[in-house]
Amino acid sequence: MSRVLFIDDEIPIRETLSMYFNLKGIEVTSAATGTEARQLAEANIYDLVILDIHLGEEDGLALLDFFRQKDPKLPVIMFSSSGDDPEVIQQALAKGATACMSTTDSLDNLLKEVQRAIH
């Protein structure tokens, strides 16, 4: 079973998507803060990370750097919302993000993107 670390402080999206992925056979561990995510990443092995670009008051790009340095091969999908600056999304891709998804995408499209990145 694939293991995903999902980092997002928006509870409705994080919880619903985590439940959906779990029902589809993907084991999801969720984190609401960068600190929590770093601790989980140090203690566990994941096949993929989903990371909210705008993580509360924290910088999602800085957390992306952390994952890139920890394991350059680990797929990291950035999660953006409609209000996010397109330039920040471009910066994320330039820093090595595997892909960018939007919170307005359907759950099924998000699942397909995750499956594509894992396999």
């Binding site: 619903t16 439940m19 995408d105």
Partner: protein, 282 residues
């Protein structure tokens, strides 16, 4: 909850058969049932020989007469037109004396995957095993634990719910997962609550729903307390994605959130408030 004066025991004298004066108490409607093939049924005890009229409404404002007759001791009504309405509510009129309660049904559509649902009707048994007994294996019902910040998961496997005693009542909300590729239909039946309600809405994320089966704009028509910085999340059942409604600078971003009957929603509240409703049908 305060019982309105007009719903308290009313004794009036009306002319009964043979011009003899009789006292009539407002009848109570009971035994609401929605049959799988569509009709809705309820019963009421009404004194023999008393003329009655059954009225139906979808908005509690406009009532139409759907049946009339003279009681033989019990009124047993079946609405064969029920399948034409997603929700409908009923009352009994005895020559100006209305039933002490309203009953009805609410049908929600469950698309493949997720839907945010609510049961806005009070019933004798609102346990999951009773409300969702016709659902397919693999279905799940999830309520949000605001202390643990986590969605629970109650799953139906081999025809049995993991937690059959879990309840879903008016004011609560849940996320239902339909594991099939077909649209499913689910009907809630019961009594419409009336009175003065004050529902605590804590700060942070919670799932909420209207205690009364009404559709409309959340803040103005349903009276939900909205404050600067709050965000409403509605789940689009067809697109299977969330639509966010932030309330900033004392206005909704683009358009206000409109909630359907039988729908629940997420709210991220900056601070705790009470959702106050004063609902009486006259």
């Amino acid at each position: 909850m305060k019982i309105p004066a007009f719903l308290e025991k009313i004794s009036v004298k009306i002319a009964a058969r043979g011009s003899k004066a009789a006292q009539i108490d407002p009848p109570r409607l009971g035994s609401p049932v929605r049959f799988p093939y569509g009709p809705f049924q309820f019963k009421a005890q009404v004194g023999k020989g008393i003329a009655y009229e059954i009225q139906a409404s979808t908005n509690f404002k406009n009532w139409s007469s759907v049946s009339a007759g003279t009681s033989a001791g019990q009124v047993d009504f079946v609405d064969s037109e029920a399948s034409k309405f997603s929700y409908r509510f009923y009352r009994l009129n005895l020559n100006g004396i209305y039933s002490a309660n309203l009953v009805g049904y609410v049908t929600v559509t469950l698309p493949p995957a997720f839907a945010m649902i609510a049961d806005p009707l009070r019933s004798a048994n609102n346990r999951v095993a009773e409300l969702f007994k016709e659902m397919p294996d693999g279905a799940t019902l999830s309520k949000f634990d605001s202390r643990l910040h986590h969605l629970s998961m109650n799953k139906l496997e081999h025809g049995k719910w993991a937690n059959p005693g879990e309840t879903l009542g008016p004011g609560e909300g849940a996320i239902f997962f339909n594991p099939t590729s077909d649209y499913k239909s689910l009907s809630f039946v019961g009594e419409v609550e009336q009175g003065d309600f004050s529902t605590p809405v804590p700060g942070g994320f919670t799932i909420q729903s209207s205690s009364i089966p009404q559709a409309g704009r959340l803040d103005t028509e349903l009276g939900f307390p909205i404050d600067e910085g709050d965000v409403i999340h509605l789940f689009d059942r067809d697109r299977q994605s969330y639509v966010l409604y932030p309330y900033q600078n004392h206005a909704w971003g683009s358009e206000p959130p409109i909630v359907s009957v039988g729908e629940s929603f997420w709210v991220a509240k900056k601070s705790a408030r009470n959702w106050i409703r004063n609902f009486y049908v006259e």
